[in-house]
Amino acid sequence: MFEPVLLRNVGVPDGHLLATYRAGGGYQALAKALHEHTPDEIIDLVKNSNLRGRGGAGFPTGMKWSFVPKKAAKPKYLCCNADEGEPGTFKDRIIMERDPHQLVEGMAISAYAIGAETAYVYIRGEYTLAIRRLERAIAEAEAEGYLGKRILGSDFSFVVHIHCGAGAYICGEETAMLDSLEGKRAQPRLKPPFPAVEGLYASPTVINNVETLACVPHIVMRGPNWFRGIGPDKSPGPKLYCVSGQVRKPGLYELPMGIPLRELVEDHAGGPPPGRKIKAVIPGGVSAPLIPALGLDVGMDFDSLAAAGSMLGSAGVIVIDDSTCIVKVATRIIEFFHHESCGKCTPCREGLNWVVKVLRRVETGQGAPGDLEQLKALCNGIFGNTFCALGDGAAMGLRAALAHFEDEFVAHIEEQRCPFNEKHAGRELLGSYG
């Protein structure tokens, strides 16, 4: 059994309270960081740990921090991305609900490392329990001197503000998040300048995911080598996997990076319901292209999944069994992206609208010859040409569905109906978590 790191307090009663957290050794990492390390040493620790961002892109965290200019006329900011908008993803929520101090401590150490005195947590508005618990944790930490002025007797002062999102997926994209924090309409910004140089209020800013930040205290306490020893060297560490869909034991699993997808789905999550076979798995939230059953031996880490034509993304693992219509899955996913497109760029805004119209027709048995070619052409027009990764993700997912399950699409058009319709009322898909 893998000994949980990030979820260590999750099963503990009152795990969200400071007393519990402290009893388990909480805030020792902060004390250690402040008293024994310079900020640069912390950055080096994180660099050496090979920690990569858990928000989706897998960017090396230590390297991101090192882009922040050492001398800047403006204040620096840390932003914690707790928007967790990716369908199939619920890991950050559990951290914030069950062990919020882990995040607070992680933010404090990270802010110390980059020289920020202010952090904003951009948190998904629907996460009401998480918001309450994080607010409470911040208050507790302030009262005990883990936040505020001259923390633990050091020169380091640091405050955390919570900002609740209003429900747009695009706010999870880091630069759109900055616009939203500034009170503007959230749309991704042009890069360069990168946020590390010109981010929030045009000041140097680091944006990290909740899980990324939660790893930091452990790296400080146990050292980078311990962290690198878990999973593949280039993509190491304990990892939270959110398993949902048609499996017997959906839920949040903490396991090493790089474990085979098959092991995760079949052993840990119990495999498909009785009598069903796995048809495909989406390994990293709906932005990640699905992997057909044949490919389940892939390792769940950034590099292995990329090599397999998909991505780890937010590690939202969605299992699809053979009772489910892929055309329907593809349609729902594209409908999501279409709804969440911020509207800035032509291919995503206009292209997805067109795609949705065609897919809905195909799904409901009104497809026409040429529709599949049109869908492929639209994917070509969208993929690689959008302003941010949202549009790309949508096109990639549809491409994968078309590539691996073209026969299902063809059947819809030829039969002018959904072949799964009688067998399957179609509510379960994506509906088994939350």
């Binding site: 911020c342 760029c345 032509t346 291919p347 292209g351 609208n353 119209k357 026409a368 049109q374």
Partner: protein, 857 residues
């Protein structure tokens, strides 16, 4: 420099240049929608994607800075396909109602589809429809959201260039729509720049709606007649009927921008109060007569007043040639130097002359704003010279120009300024003196001791101590600037303290020059050809070329060229002319294109004085109040009915062109001057516009070498003479008397700047009702609130208008725009008193409201 290769062609460009800019220089066309030269790149339309060697994805050329050695391709099958695909997607939901779209024929989407689009669309689903009826966003703007391609050019233009932030974007994805706050344009300037930059028929001009097809329009490039910014614009007329204005994207001081007056305020040419025929006064009334009859009458009257003084006033909106000919007529035929060119103030030339000669910088404003420090003195540039304001905002936001404001009136530009010094009206001279003193202090005596040894020789040096915090901050900012530009609102000339203000400006500029800040200076005139009028010598003490009348050499040169004598003594300015009239000493007063009865302070006096002139001749295209007093009224060609040149604030001479024939029996101004000269049995040579231009170019040094054919779409710059040797350093100004009460100042508002704007139906529709502006504090103290009818009362008279509470106003300040005919503001004002002390109170209700209805109601 970095090098780039595009489609095999190599080019060296400045570091930081984008691929798009480099391609443009190589003549390689890259299609764009969201890109707009003067805005930061948005990179959202994805039309401009190109292949860059070593990059996995296509890159937006509008936002990709060149890295040395970059290899770019724009002509590959992938690019063709991508462009076609973007257009295909844009067309999918586009209504394709081109046949009834005003943009049809000049639509960028249409053009782009023809050039790069798919031959046929495979879209066969239902289109998205936002609304079936177009949305009227403002009196001048109508919107069809269905046609919008989301380039956001309009929104960015409105926010970043105009500074109005009236347009915004709501919703997301396919529901994204451009609109105003709650569906209307609350803070809108009605400038129409959003309409201008909209590539498709989404934002449209309401006045032009369904009026014409672009290919039916005869287009004429000309210059805006309203303010001294002198924007280039293109008039579209159909069969001689005025249809619309649009801007010429690459040219002039303004490029694609205009303000509301330029874009929508040209319909005054169709105003109904044109003077149709000559008129003479018979039995107390003006009666229409033929030109011949008017000539006979005028000949007779003129010979009857020969022994008395003559005087002339011409509008600073008239083209140079007309102004030049007018002063020549006055000087050589009527043998007088009594000429002036402002119906609102008289100009102390003794202070103005050295300032202009020493510092006026005849160069593109764009260049002046490139200086890292720009001080704007007086006025309200947002309202008076809107397009100048856009450029200043651009400087402050994108070129790191440090903007400094010194004025009594707040303006929108204050928000972009590094420092604002709000001065009490009338204390501009003192404030400038404080800035000068602050600058001396900021510079540290050590380095300046020598400077002042030189300058101080003339006077005692600046005597004001820099106690004023604001002045000190301004001085420090000026000191920090490497190069300084000073822009001066002509508004300052209103004050009886104008002389002192000009002198202090001179001190400041001399000091800046001594400090090596190479100061540049321009005036911000609110009249299209004010600088031209000065250049042409329409001033009592100045000959063409701004040379003093008393300058014998200058006078002789002109006398020789003109073959006539010029009176050797400086003449009377308009103020003095009026006084001469009033005391019965004026035989004939000749007023061209000007309406002093509306504009000059003390309406009663002006009326009496004009009435006391034995013969009042008014030559105008509109029946002004002044014309109503005239003995002879001569109908003149209006704007667009004769060609000439205007000189804008930058000193840029530009062609103002004819786009239709003079209306009714009106004649060209030059023709009328000839006509009048003939009545005195004289001829003015040369007499055609082109020949006069050539004479100007020959005789006026600043215009030397110009030829009218060379005034291309950007005009041509007149030249400043060599700066005279450092002049005297003027002593401190009189200390302004501190007034406790409210003081009234005036100026232009955004929608109006004089009697032509008042004749624009569209401007009258969009302009606010006549209003009085004051601070929230004063209003509260007086128990007044926004929208109340209030009475403004001076020692001289009173007016009633709506109160506008302006939270940016300083206490004590009351502003009434000078442009509303109905207000008769000048009946409140006294001569030689400005600002004007006033009281403000709630207007008496005109009807009683029934009080205290009984219970049970």
């Amino acid at each position: 420099m970095v090098s780039v290769t595009i489609n095999g062609q190599r080019l060296d460009v400045e570091a930081g240049s984008t691929v798009l800019q480099a391609a443009e220089r190589l003549g390689i066309e890259i299609p764009t929608f969201c890109y707009l030269k003067r805005l930061p790149a948005l990179a959202s339309c994805r039309m401009c994607l190109v292949e860059i060697e070593g990059q996995r994805r296509l890159q937006p050329s509008c936002a990709t800075a060149i890295i040395d050695g970059m290899v770019v391709r724009t002509n590959t099958p992938l690019i063709d396909e991508t462009r076609s695909s973007m257009l295909d997607m844009l067309l999918a939901n586009h209504p394709l109602d081109c046949p009834i779209c005003d943009k049809g024929g000049e639509c960028e989407l249409q053009d782009m589809v023809m050039a790069y689009g798919p031959r046929e669309s495979r879209f066969r689903d239902a289109k998205r429809v936002f609304h079936s009826k177009d949305i009227r966003l403002s009196p001048v703007i109508i919107m069809n959201v269905n046609r919008c391609i989301q380039c956001q050019r309009c929104v960015r233009m409105c926010e970043e260039v105009v500074g109005a932030v009236a347009l915004g974007t709501v919703e997301k994805g396919m529901d994204t729509a451009v609109t105003g706050f709650e569906g209307s344009l609350a803070s809108c300037d009605q400038c129409g720049n959003c309409v201008e930059v909209c590539p498709v028929g989404a934002l449209m001009s309401f006045p032009y709606r369904y009026k014409a097809r672009p290919w039916d329009l005869a287009e004429t490039d000309t210059v805006c007649p309203h303010c001294g910014t002198g924007c280039q614009l293109t008039v579209g007329a159909r069969k001689g009927e005025f249809m619309r204005v649009h801007s010429k994207w690459e040219h002039g001081v303004n490029r694609e921008t205009l303000c509301v007056r330029g874009r929508f305020g040209l319909d005054f040419v169709e105003s109904r109060d044109r003077i149709k025929r000559p008129m003479i006064r018979r039995n107390g009334a003006l009666v229409p007569v033929s030109w011949d009859e008017a000539g006979n009458y005028l000949r007779e009257r003129l010979s009857g007043v020969e022994s008395k003084a003559m005087g002339g006033l011409a509008s600073p909106r008239l083209p140079n040639e007309m102004l030049y000919q007018f002063q020549k007529l006055m000087r050589t035929v009527f043998r007088t130097n009594n000429i002036d060119c402002s119906s609102r103030w008289s100009t102390p030339f003794d202070a103005l002359g050295p300032l202009v000669a020493g510092f006026y910088t005849r160069a593109p404003l764009e260049e002046l704003i490139g200086n890292d420090c720009v001080l704007v003195v007086g006025g309200n540039v947002t309202d008076e010279n809107p397009v100048t304001e856009y450029l200043l905002r651009d400087g402050a936001r994108r070129r790191q120009t440090g903007l400094l404001m010194l004025s009594a009136r707040p303006s929108r530009l204050d928000a972009d300024a590094r420092a604002v010094l709000r001065v009490r009206p009338g204390s501009e001279a003192a404030s400038l003196a404080a800035v000068v003193a602050g600058l001396v202090a900021a510079a540290g005596q050590a380095s300046l001791a020598d400077v002042f040894a030189d300058l101080g020789a003339a006077t005692d040096g600046p005597a004001v101590t820099p106690e004023d915090g604001g002045a000190h901050r301004l001085a420090v900012a000026l000191m920090e600037g490497k190069s300084v530009t000073v822009l001066v609102s002509a508004d300052l000339l209103r004050s009886p303290e104008a002389r002192a203000t000009l002198q202090q400006l001179n001190n400041l500029l001399q000091l800046l020059r001594a400090l090596g800040k190479g100061p540049a200076m321009q005036f911000l005139f609110d009249r299209a050809n004010q600088l031209g009028a000065w250049d042409m010598g329409v001033l009592p003490a100045v000959l063409p070329g701004m040379r003093p009348v008393v300058d014998v050499a200058a006078r002789t040169t002109l006398e020789r060229a003109w073959g006539a004598e010029i009176p050797s003594e400086p003449g009377a300015d308009f103020e003095v002319m009026l006084e001469l009239c009033d005391s019965g000493q004026v035989g004939a007063l000749y007023i061209v294109g000007s309406d002093p009865l509306m504009a000059y302070p003390d309406r009663e006096f002006v009326k009496r004085a004009l009435g006391a002139a034995e013969l009042l001749i008014v030559q105008d295209s509109f029946l002004t109040d002044t014309a109503g007093l005239a003995d002879v009224v001569l109908p003149a060609a209006g704007y667009g009915e004769e060609s000439g040149t205007l000189t804008n604030n930058e000193g840029r001479a530009q062609n103002v062109r004819k786009f239709r024939e003079p209306a009714f029996e009106a004649r060209g101004n030059l023709v009328i001057f000839d006509f009048v000269a003939t009545l005195r049995d004289q001829v003015l040579r040369p007499s055609t516009q082109g020949e006069i231009f050539d004479e100007i170019a020959r005789l006026i040094p600043s215009h030397q070498g110009l030829s009218q054919d060379q005034l291309g779409p950007d005009g041509a710059f007149t030249m400043a003479g060599p700066p005279p040797p450092a002049g005297e350093f003027f002593g401190p100004p009189p200390t302004p008397t501190a007034a406790d009460g409210l003081t009234l100042i005036t100026g232009n508002c955004l929608f109006h700047n004089g009697y032509i704007s008042e004749r624009s139906e569209i401007l009258n529709t969009v302009a606010d009702d006549p209003y009085v502006e004051m601070s929230a504090r004063d209003a509260t103290q007086l128990g007044l609130s926004d929208g109340d009818e209030v009475v403004v009362r001076s020692a001289q008279g009173e007016l009633t208008a709506k109160l506008k509470v302006n939270r940016h106003f300083p206490g004590g300040l009351v502003f009434v725009p000078e442009n509303y005919k109905t207000l008769r503001l000048n009946s409140l004002m006294r001569r030689r008193e400005y600002p004007c002390p006033v009281e403000v109170e709630r207007a008496q209700a005109t009807f009683e409201i029934a009080t205290a209805a009984g219970p049970g109601l």
